[in-house]
């Protein structure tokens, strides 16, 4: 065997053991490993690691499936009220502890919007983890939801259409805001990414859109003629958050606050 003309990279070593390497390069890598014992040792240790993972965790896949994961049972509605309630209670605890941290991120905001954004982020944090009861009124009752929320917050609430961003309206709920009731709308992608829109009357003039982030939540917030808006979502893709916020902004603008 001869030394391959092109040196083998570390990426290729990974691709080699994961069967991702183009077939024509496999011989080169095998030749390389013979003349490069350190790389051969690394490859050996990665394989041993994979074997150890299988040895440790394959048994889980062989266990009988616990009753609570039986598909027939899960397909029946209304099984997990209690679980949801417990999760919400736990989440409330967690949020209480996090407030101090959150305050840090919005210090730069106008003070009237600060409490507002904190409330919105807390609500986001509380409800995105909910599986069965994330909202009070489902998105399927959009007309009723809008009518109800509009009446309670005192201005027209029209749930933005975010289908173009791959988001479907899960529904909404009414929440206490810092100075007035707040409308809270939740959207979800087919893979479970959740975004929420929080809006309420706010003693703030029209402002620019601002960004605030914490460990894994991001929010864009703004106010428009006395109405505040906070759009929250996962913070790992700021462009996506911004794109969704723009879509919301473009549609709420026409409401006239």
């Amino acid at each position: 065997m001869t030394e391959p003309n092109i040196p083998v990279t570390e990426d290729e070593l990974h691709a080699y053991i994961d069967n991702e390497l183009p077939a024509e390069r496999r011989d080169d890598v095998e030749a390389w490993l013979i003349t490069h014992p350190e790389d051969a040792e690394r490859v050996r240790s990665w394989r041993a690691m994979a074997e150890a993972l299988h040895a440790r965790y394959d048994a889980v896949a062989d266990e009988p499936v616990p009753a609570r994961l039986e598909i027939e049972r899960l397909a029946r509605p209304q099984r997990r009220m209690l679980y949801g309630a417990i999760a919400a209670t736990l989440a409330a605890f967690v949020i209480g502890g996090a407030t101090g941290w959150l305050a840090h991120g919005v210090n730069a905001a106008p003070s009237s919007l600060r409490a507002f954004t904190l409330d919105a982020l807390e609500a986001h944090r509380l409800y995105v983890v909910e599986v069965r009861h994330p909202v009070e009124v489902a998105g399927s009752e959009r007309a009723h939801l809008q009518q109800w929320l509009s009446r309670r917050v005192g201005y027209a609430i029209k749930a933005p259409e975010l289908d173009a961003s791959g988001l479907k309206l899960v529904g909404g709920r009414l929440l206490p805001g810092p100075t007035a009731p707040a409308a809270f709308l939740m959207y979800e992608s087919p893979t479970g990414e959740r975004f929420t829109l929080y809006t309420s009357r706010a003693a703030a003039p029209t402002t620019q859109m601002r960004y605030v982030t914490r460990a894994s939540d991001g929010a864009l917030y703004w106010s428009d003629r006395g109405v505040g808006y906070v759009l929250s979502g996962p913070d790992d893709n700021k462009n996506r958050l911004e794109q969704v916020a723009r879509a919301v902004y473009d549609q709420t603008e026409k409401n006239g606050g």
Binding site: A55, V60, G192
Partner: protein, 162 residues
Amino acid sequence: MNTFRDSVEAMIPALRRYARALTRDADVADDLVQDTLLRALRSERLFIGGDLRSWLYTILTNLNRNRRRSLARKPSFAPLQDAAAGASGTEAEGRDIARALATLVDDQRAVLLLVTLEGLTYREIADIQGVPIGTVMSRLARARAHMKAALDGERPALRRVK
């Protein structure tokens, strides 16, 4: 006959394995699988073909991220003992591998497990995590380097004995 439901059901053992390795806690792992299944069943109409397996792993990954977020302020408890272990040598090795996994950051752990345990392709994982394939590869490289360091550092002598 419901082929969608049957296909989801067939994935439960693999999802449980992945969730267990991801969280290293049997109860938390099954909660995660339960939520994944509920969401999948609820979203049946949103699933328009494509790879069901990748879709389920994507849901589980997103739910785990939500869960981590909600626990971000809670102290974490290491499980006292892992169930499911064989002979004592294997048991010790199993504990080591679990401990080494615990040293990884979430995204790296997920990549390593999806590649080595679940046998997904780099491309599928890039789609699941919503990142470019190069990011998947660098996460994988870092995960393996970390794991190796953790395993070597932990019991260099015992390794030789086996």
